[in-house]
């Protein structure tokens, strides 16, 4: 239940930023989630619903924007997103180097009522 811990940190951080901005209520939370972060969307939403009542974020919409893991292929001099079978470049089949491991979970912005 990694999502429960994440939801607790999410709420703590959202409340802090919302309060600083003088929010009466948080309408939406925009998250950026890496597709290799192992975050399960349903579990995250469930835990958020569980923990948010009584906070400034009660009833807020959770908007998730998924971003992929990215690699750089030296042979093709191009970026690629590997599939789940390995880290091979889809064009030439070599294994490039990691640019973004796709594991970040960021609060990008909040929409608040003041």
């Amino acid at each position: 239940m990694h999502e429960l811990a994440l939801s607790a940190y999410l709420l703590e951080s959202v409340e802090e930023h919302a309060r600083e901005a003088g929010a009466r209520r948080v309408v939406a939370i925009n998250l950026v989630v890496g597709d290799r972060s192992c975050v399960e969307e349903e579990a995250l939403r469930f835990c958020f619903e569980l923990l948010s009542p009584g906070t400034l974020a009660e009833g807020a919409e959770l908007a998730l924007r998924w971003v992929p893991m990215r690699f750089w292929c030296n042979t093709c001099a191009a970026e690629y997103t590997p599939d789940l079978a390995g880290f091979h470049c889809p064009r030439c089949g070599t294994v490039g180097g990691v640019l973004d491991d796709g594991t970040d979970v960021l609060i990008e912005s909040l929409e608040i009522e003041t």
Binding site: H2, A5, Y9, A21
Partner: protein
């Protein structure tokens, strides 16, 4: 009533990272090198720790924090192996250790009496990776018996480790472990981390791993950068 957008751009791990930084400072002040050991269940985390304690006898005093969902079997094992001190953290179902949990555990551990802190994370290759514990070195341990596809399936832990230990190499021919496949994926994720092939059962390959730890301990004694 107006709705306004507030830019945040903050990782969800921000609060944990701050607590981790406080642990790092605490260890630095006590002259302790902290290692966070990540592995799946049964890869040989506790065996690697008991082998390390024995190999460092007379060289470095080892303290251990054992993270487990429940039980204290591992704490008893490391104390029997010669750990100076050991503290059990039971997460009660939690799949990883967080910096706050480790900070509380360290209140019960005498940092002044140890040189090396080995933190055995909860057996899991996924969640523990995301939580910095304030360690100086993060070590990923996998065993040949788990298969050569672990770096492809769990890229994060390999990408973010300072060293990788491949255990149970005595079984490597029995379990059809393909070294080429394994190293190809490991190097794509992490070109520089040393990989130590060991067998905690036979003792094979442990010298290189222990030498790596000794170099980090020596750097600390010399007042150098250990991170």
């Amino acid at each position: 009533m107006t709705v306004q957008r507030v830019k945040v751009v903050q990782s969800l791990f921000h609060a944990n990272d701050q607590a981790a930084e406080a642990i790092r400072t605490r260890c630095d002040e006590a002259g302790v090198v902290a290692v966070n050991l990540l592995a799946g269940p049964g890869a040989g985390k506790t065996s690697l720790i008991t082998r390390t304690i024995a190999a460092l006898a007379g060289v470095a005093r080892v303290g251990v924090v054992e993270g487990d969902i429940a039980g204290s079997v591992d704490t008893e094992r490391v104390l029997a192996a010669g750990a100076v001190d050991a503290v059990q953290v039971n997460t009660g179902g939690g799949c990883h250790l967080e910096a706050g949990m480790l900070a509380r555990a360290l209140d019960d551990l005498d940092l002044g009496a140890i040189d090396l802190l080995m933190v055995e994370n909860v057996g899991n290759l996924i969640c523990p990776t995301h939580w910095d514990l304030g360690e100086h070195a993060r070590v990923c341990l996998v065993s040949a018996a788990e298969g050569d596809d672990k770096p492809v399936k769990y890229p994060d832990v390999f990408a973010r480790s300072d060293a990788i230990v491949l255990n149970k190499i005595d079984l490597i021919d029995l379990v059809d472990f393909d070294r080429t496949r394994f190293y190809e994926a490991v190097r794509a994720l992490n070109p520089d981390a040393p990989v130590f092939e060991v067998s905690c059962r036979t003792g094979a390959g442990l010298e290189a791993w222990v030498d790596w730890l000794r170099a980090r301990l020596a750097a600390r004694v010399a007042g150098g950068e250990v991170g």
